[in-house]
Symmetry: C2
Subunit: 557 residues, 2 copies
Amino acid sequence: MTGKKKTAHASLEAMYRVFTVPEAPDSTLSRIDQDISRNLAGFLQEHIVAIERDLGEVVRDFNESAVPEKPIFVSEQTQFLLDKLVANSVHTASPSFVGHMTSALPYFMLPLSKIMIALNQNLVKTETSKAFTPLERQVLGMIHRLVYNEDSAYYRKWMHDPRYALGAMCSGGTIANLTALWVARNQAFPAEGSFRGLHEEGLFRALRYYGYEGAAILVSRRGHYSLRKAADVLGLGRNALIPIDTDDENRIQTDALRDKCLELQKQKVKILAICGIAGTTETGNVDPLDAMADIAREFGAHFHVDAAWGGPTLFSRTYGPLLKGIEQADSVTFDAHKQLYVPMGAGLVVFRNPELVGAIEHHAQYIIRKGSRDLGSTTLEGSRPGMAMLIHSGLKILAREGYELLIDQGIEKAKLFAEMIDRREDFELVTRPELNILTYRYCPAATQDALSRADTLQSERINASLNRITKYIQKTQREHGKAFVSRTRLEPAKHHHFPCVVFRVVLANPLTTPEILRDILDEQTQLAKESELQDEIEMLENLTQSVPPLTHTREAL
Amino acid sequence: MTGKKKTAHASLEAMYRVFTVPEAPDSTLSRIDQDISRNLAGFLQEHIVAIERDLGEVVRDFNESAVPEKPIFVSEQTQFLLDKLVANSVHTASPSFVGHMTSALPYFMLPLSKIMIALNQNLVKTETSKAFTPLERQVLGMIHRLVYNEDSAYYRKWMHDPRYALGAMCSGGTIANLTALWVARNQAFPAEGSFRGLHEEGLFRALRYYGYEGAAILVSRRGHYSLRKAADVLGLGRNALIPIDTDDENRIQTDALRDKCLELQKQKVKILAICGIAGTTETGNVDPLDAMADIAREFGAHFHVDAAWGGPTLFSRTYGPLLKGIEQADSVTFDAHKQLYVPMGAGLVVFRNPELVGAIEHHAQYIIRKGSRDLGSTTLEGSRPGMAMLIHSGLKILAREGYELLIDQGIEKAKLFAEMIDRREDFELVTRPELNILTYRYCPAATQDALSRADTLQSERINASLNRITKYIQKTQREHGKAFVSRTRLEPAKHHHFPCVVFRVVLANPLTTPEILRDILDEQTQLAKESELQDEIEMLENLTQSVPPLTHTREAL
């Protein structure tokens, strides 16, 4: 009988054993632990079921609502997790799952995570994190330097000075964006005269004192939804997040941005922040950051760049220049659990000016006392794990060169995939990859041709039909379990801004090969031939043929 | 040469190996991995240095600010982490480290965490989490039931209905409190007539539309600092967090609370929320929740209970009733990485009314589409790890009985420790434990006696001296590294509200024995005799003697 079996009797002695006696080497859990260490890919392949089980059915395994009265054996719970949870989880590391931003992890992240969890540090204060505090500051410094490229003397001065912060670690990009905009909002309405600052007196009095009718954040229509959420949380309201139209490459139209700023200014609306995007979630495009920085300066607005996805492109000598202008941002969001390849739950924001976080600084008597080195005084979150250790390890083990390779191969693979789509009869590339993301859809060549000549009504009908087909293919492919592309909706100008359903592909997993991409297209071509779709396909053909061909006369021109 | 060694050359082939070839069994990292599995306590004991190294010195190991150009071997980074990071981290699991809320973890949490990290799910949407979605909903349901105790039919109806949520998972208590108050704020200013709701139009227009001059959140002076932070983030301003005085047991004075509400009402300030505390961070006390619920109802305020620390007390048949009234709360914060004994980074909030989260619901086209089961539509965070799996495992393996034992032994040990302090000549118990937290300080019996007779000036002088001594002892004990108690400042009524520095002890680690507690007091007694303190001790003795003894006449009375 192993130590763990005793836990089925809730005695104090059993409880001590749960904390002191490790899993026996022959226990179910130990075996899995070893399996994962030896062969993670095999473990995932073997234990995650390929064919999708309907989620409504999976729910049945999680119906009990009462906390069970009696302890069960660790082995029993482990078996349950294997059969019910692991089996029906998503194989995010699979090289043929190219629909989301979660990729495979470098192997060393697993044992390193174990050390992190075993140490169970809390980074809110040095008392419970010690060396993790300077480590986290170093990680923030390294990303700061990657973005702003100050010299070593600068970092010697600022990096470890407890009165300032080069950034803030977060659980992810959403909190990073929120932190940046929180800083921007407080910074925009500082203490002055009888007014003690927005952070003390709130937004209502701030606007009244400064004589504004509102406050706005501007971002392109491709901005991440977390920005709208942030506008809500910060008390500005979702309407304060003002979407600006994009050009054909999904980049913000800077003229429209500037016009909107002028209009808001006339309406006595304070321009709190202008957000550039370095890697839009849906299409992977980069805004014209230099031009946006100029506009932000003109209107005295905080310039934030959401580089949650594209930030690590800066590691690449070839593609890094795509992000030119990012060094003018007041704040930049990075997601470590995306293209820094660390496990889920790590994002960060860096600030050009290390004094900026003063706008959100907090203290308490029993924690993060004034003058302490405690990181908690400048983070939105309180208790936090030592994820910085994993980022640090990625930066050291893969180094700039390693991340550059990962970035370069992703972008080049996306270009290759775009060419493959261009060559296929049945597909239309909707957005060409700038970074490693592209979108396309089912759309036979004849239909593409017809669409180029269709009037608005014809175009709408054809696109509606295409949407149904693309959606069917995406869902069915996911259910079959061999591959996964995601889908979203875009409003391309060339289709009269009609919402078009598209496949979305993210090529960050280095294990994804051109063969896998070919197979994905082959399977989609096959799915389009499924009997369930034939009525729709026939309708599409009729719609296509109903668009009159170019007349000879016009052709002659 | 192991696969990992190849990473020192950043070639594409090497990059593939980093993702596909596990650590060799004889690699440094694999050996540590196995060490931790076999003997975690030994690993921590051996690798974390006992004597505290000055943090300023530790910083030197983290001074490099540039991301290194060239990859290094995994073994090299591992050795660096062992020597520089692990060695100088904090032994949070040590049974003699009773100063913080981070305790030892049950052994099974480690291998389970490894499974979680290997699966690398993202709980923002079902596409990247699948079975983790109903699992998380079940965990929220179980905690909801623990708090609100509805019947099974209730949970059959609500638990898995994607249109509602019984709660929201968070990275910790701070985000949980913020989420609850975000809901309360939006809920207080709904759409009506021409007004489209605070969530759309923001706080400025909301107050104007509803005719208020401000909005406030009320909590006792012992409220966690995250509530003040939330008031700031939400745009209310830190001044909107109104602290109410407590009684001698650190519980909110409900008369003062009600008076303040009346006053605010007169000033046309909307009472957004009243926050009760179930386990104050510094002293572990529980507010009179029933009475607070009545007041919240009277003023139409959201009633939130911050049970980040004390929530799991509900598992105990003996002590659960201390939290009576919590079932009347509109929302309750729980921290899983505290007394649910899961690793750092897991908190949650539950809502009495599952429709409440509608106030913060968000959607986007490419994610968390309307009608989907995606959890991301009702959480503040976006991408999140599958920590729910660890909470689930704790609830199943330890079960109610197991958690009850953990809670009971902690509270009983705290009572025992209080008795030990009472019996010591040199210490004064400052706050008696209601849950498993207590505070005390260095204060010889003669000084305690003198303080009971001292006038305000004498009292201040004596307390200032006691503060210096207690602070010295606390810091020195921590530096010696055998034991750790934290310190905070309280303003006891009996000392004319003069700020008193106290030792703070949290007894959640089941491995902490009475002998360890005795040793802590012994070491503190010894430290008070250190030569560095003797001038201060002498001064204290003089101050003590300067307070005149009771006259015979008064004694005769």
